[in-house]
């Protein structure tokens, strides 16, 4: 009877689902990535399986490093800003008493979430285009209007636009588990609101916040439409390179190899970030049954 209880039942169904739906297809992608590309032919050499690592090696050219940096670094900036901005709003949503303002904010966030990504991106593209604020951004950085720095800024703004509603709604739940009386208790002991918040509340939610951070970062790294339209071809994410190979050029092995690389890189970086942000809080987790 005891062994029966020891088996982790809840995790079985989702595990099986992911194994079938993700792992099996990924195996296919992996095998495809090792095939020779025959240009003009679909998917590689027909008949005769030749294992090759060429598809991977092509991406070790130095120029591709820039795509990796763009993807990871710009996402980091956007995620940090989005999470920082979402934090106060989420906290307020979690602890404020019911009011029309609270309901309006919740509704507004949900509605913005459902707006089509493509349309929002065009909104940013026009607002921050040459007819819009692009010139001001260029002045701010002190460079020409077509400089990569300006384009990167526009991409980051687009990402923030996309990520903030996600971050806000996701962070409400961790805050709800904190008793509001903790902050009051700290203040009664002499702390001001800010210190009470920084020293008491944040450490308690650190695990939850780090989880949200990781998810938002992952969403940013895999963003596709935003760097495609706002990057103007100057700034491209790895997902754009993959798309070109799968959907335009029919270089399936190359696209497969790049996806595997993308998966590995971002998995490492995100988990690493999550460990940095969240691990010290592991001590607080305490006993789990």
């Amino acid at each position: 009877m005891k062994t029966w209880r020891r088996i982790n039942w809840p995790i079985m169904p989702p595990l099986i689902a992911v194994a079938c739906l993700l792992v099996f297809p990924l195996m296919i992608v992996l095998s495809l990535s090792t095939r020779q590309v025959a240009p003009g032919q679909v998917g590689g050499i027909v008949g005769g399986y030749q294992l090759t690592l060429d598809n991977y090696l092509t991406f070790f050219h130095p120029a591709y490093l820039r795509y990796v940096t763009d993807t990871l670094w710009l996402s980091l900036i956007a995620t940090t800003i989005a999470v920082l901005a979402a934090y106060p709003v989420a906290y307020w949503l979690a602890v404020a008493p019911s009011s029309w303002r609270r309901r309006l904010t919740i509704v507004a966030l949900i509605v913005v979430l459902y707006a089509s990504a493509v349309v929002k991106v065009y909104g940013v593209s026009i607002a921050l285009g040459p007819m819009g604020l692009r010139g001001s951004i260029a002045e701010f950085w002190g460079v020409g209007m077509n400089n990569r720095l300006v384009t990167s800024t526009v991409v980051v703004v687009g990402l923030i636009n996309f990520l903030t509603p996600i971050a806000t709604l996701m962070m409400v739940a961790p805050f709800q588990q904190i008793s509001p009386s903790l902050s009051a208790a700290a203040q009664s002991l002499g702390a001001n609101r800010l210190t009470a918040h920084l020293t008491v509340i944040i450490p308690l939610c650190r695990a939850g916040i780090s989880q949200v951070f990781m998810l938002v970062y992952a969403a940013s790294v895999s963003a596709f439409v935003i760097p495609l339209v706002l990057g103007r071809g100057q700034v491209a994410f790895l997902s754009n390179l993959v798309y070109a190979r799968f959907s335009e050029v029919a270089d399936f092995p190359g696209g497969a190899a790049l996806s595997i690389l993308l998966l590995l890189i971002t998995l490492c970086v995100t988990l690493g970030l999550g460990w940095i942000v969240g691990n010290p809080a592991a001590k607080w987790r305490g006993y789990r049954s």
Binding site: R5, N8, P10, I11, P13, P14, L15, V18, L21, L22, P25, I28, V29, I81, A85, P88, V89, A94, P97, S98, R103, A108, V111, V112, L113, Y114, S116, V118, V119, K120, V121, Y122, G123, I160, T164, P165, M170, V172, A173, Q176, Q177, I178, S179, P180, N192, R193, G208, Q211, L215, A218, F224, S239, V242, F246, G255, A256, T266, L267, R288, S289
Partner: protein
Amino acid sequence: MKRLIDSIGLTLVGAFVGVVLIIVVAPFLYSLVMSFDPRLYLGTFPPPGISGQWYAKFFSDERYVRALWTSLFIALTSSVAACILGTLAALGLLRIHREAPRAALDGMFASPKFVPNVVIGFALLMAFSIVGIGAGFTAITCAHLLIVLPLVVRSVSAALDGIKPSLIDAAMSLGATRAQAIFDVVIPLARTGIAVGFVFAMAVSLDEVAASAFLTTPSVVTLPVVLISDMKANFDLTIAAAAVMMMVLVLVVVAVLDITVGIERLLGRGSYGDSSNR
């Protein structure tokens, strides 16, 4: 002094949040305004007049309307399935004590997020064709399930993280079985996480195009795919009209929810219970 620090801090935070909120809301307003653009090309903002042409185009074309129903159906199915599976996964993760296996499984559930949707679509197309199912409803729903699952798992995990395990012990000490303790105590407390996860799942599924493009058939097409197909070569603001309509739909659903259940109830109040004054 402390009051001063508090005021300065609050002002700074307020200003920062204000800027970001403008970034979030302005493009959305832009798309709202542009959906009424009378011009047949992307011109400068603001549009010179108001026209319902894009809305008329949307409703008059039965392809769009049929695709809308298809999208809604697929979104509901995949989101509900993702919520169930995601909650189970989060609960299961909670039970693992050792860091290494938990991180590994955590990563596994998060991994669909790191695979570009194009690849998911392509890989599932190949996998399903080997198995014999092929493209269509099942394939698209599975792809969407895979794509939204990480969101739900994260959302529920983040919610579960703050729940004291002693609550489960307390419930069991009062006579409940483990399962009852989980269902009657933990899940209601994690309600926010599950609700938010569901909202996200629906939003992502309704907007998903990269994977769905590989898995549609002449009889099963989702709305974003149809819109993108028309947009590929021509400029077409029907997508803006569709986006606004989607938002109106969501607004209606949320309003109905608010009147019946109370939207605040959905985003409950955690371990201190509901102190909303409805």
